[in-house]
């Protein structure tokens, strides 16, 4: 018999955390400002808060450094500081926007459904639909706009203790438009994920962050270095025959978002459990992600060193 300590069953401690940077009262202050003074007032305060963090909190600044060094190699120190400010500001705006979405309603944003027809066509195949996305733009805005698919939406997300950011519907204005599957649940949520796909539903999962063990990742070259990317989305696609659409919801203007369907990945059925079998599909996702960060460098919110 294997033991609990065997390599197969061992869980690795993940190197990242979903915990919020700010404290609970700081988040509440922003929520109140949005409620009583609107989005632009929250942005105005955000400019100052981000400036403070970038200038006086090197630990916060360093979080985006590994990504920015690879995306913008050879920058001088002043340009690096500017890059750090830009990416932190964009991340802050996304947090403000999702609170605006929950507090003031989705009507506050224009949403460009580029790729709408393609997603509808994929959903109509009736084999379930896997939406593979990344920590880019504001996925919550995208989720709020996926009702057009007219099929239940399921989101794989793990929230940690200390994550005080509210999901947009938790502000109480709207009912949750999707069901959450926790990858820290029984069997890593695998049965739930299979279940919803077998019922023709939509499953949205992050393609740039492993939530289980290292066994569920494959090494793929990303921005000139090797990174472990999860292959669970492609294993699910192989097990169910569901198509996997790579989507990137991004901020396209001060009050607007767009949903880009970057790629549709078809995975042959019954590829088995060998990680290497899924590398070509993870690679397709990563190439699409590289194209995205080329076009929108300050909307890839990667705040830990994935290359280490």
């Amino acid at each position: 018999m294997r033991t609990a300590a065997s390599p197969k069953s061992r869980r690795e401690k993940k190197p990242w955390s979903s915990r919020s940077i700010g404290s609970r009262w700081q988040h509440r202050f922003f929520y109140s400002l949005i409620r009583f003074a609107g989005r632009r007032a929250a942005y105005a305060l955000l400019f100052l808060v981000v400036l403070y963090y970038v200038l006086f909190r090197p630990s916060a600044r360093n979080r985006s450094r590994p990504y920015l060094l690879r995306r913008f190699p050879g920058r001088n120190p002043v340009a690096r500081l500017w890059d750090s400010y830009r990416i932190s500001l964009e991340a802050g705006k996304v947090l403000v926007d999702r609170a605006v979405l929950g507090i003031l309603g989705p009507g506050r944003f224009a949403f460009d459904h580029t790729g709408r027809e393609e997603l509808l066509k994929l959903a109509r195949e009736g084999r379930g639909l896997i939406l593979v996305t990344a920590h880019v733009g504001c996925w919550q805005v995208a989720m709020a706009n996926l009702g057009m698919l007219r099929t239940p939406i399921n989101l794989v997300i793990h929230r940690e203790e200390g994550d005080v950011d509210l999901l947009y519907f938790e502000h109480g204005r709207d009912a949750a438009p999707y069901r959450i599957i926790d990858p820290a649940g029984p069997l890593g949520g695998a049965l739930e994920m299979l279940h919803v796909l077998k019922h023709g539903e939509v499953l949205c999962i992050m393609g740039d962050r492993a939530m289980g063990s290292d066994r569920s990742t494959v090494a793929v070259d990303f921005l000139g270095g090797v990174v472990q990317f999860p292959f669970t989305p492609y294993q699910l696609a192989s097990a169910t025959g569901a198509p996997a659409a790579v989507i990137f919801p991004y901020k396209s203007g001060a009050g607007s978002y767009a949903l880009q369907v970057a790629k549709v990945i078809r995975v042959p059925v019954n590829l088995g459990r060998t990680p290497g079998a899924y590398r070509p599909y993870a690679d397709q996702f990563v190439r699409a992600l590289e194209d995205f960060v080329e076009a929108h460098p300050y909307q890839f919110f990667n705040f830990f060193d994935v290359w280490r």
């Binding site: 018999m1 890593g188 299979l194 279940h195 289980g212 699910l236 097990a239 019954n270 060998t274």
Partner: protein, 85 residues
């Protein structure tokens, strides 16, 4: 061959359990975590294996959780759904 024996052979072969032989697997040992040491990725493969080798589709999540407790519970789940021979 009983369903239990067939399952053990299939698991060792399809899940590449290299350190084990079918005879090493205890009927009542947990499939996941301690015991056989399978994890969430294997859960996906198990669903595929049951469909491929026995023609049974596990569509109900709660039933699946119960069936995946051990080899014995999974064999019982399969036997209940196999056509009477």
């Amino acid at each position: 061959m009983t369903t239990t024996e067939k399952l053990k052979n299939i698991l060792v072969e399809d899940l590449n359990l290299e350190e084990l032989t079918p005879g090493d697997i205890d009927d009542d040992a947990p499939l996941f975590g301690e015991g056989l040491g399978l994890d969430s990725l294997d859960a996906v493969e198990l669903v595929v294996i049951v469909q491929k080798h026995f023609g049974i589709e596990i569509r109900n999540m709660d039933e699946g959780r119960t069936a995946f407790q051990s080899i014995r519970s999974l064999a019982a789940y399969i036997d209940e759904r196999l056509p009477v021979r």
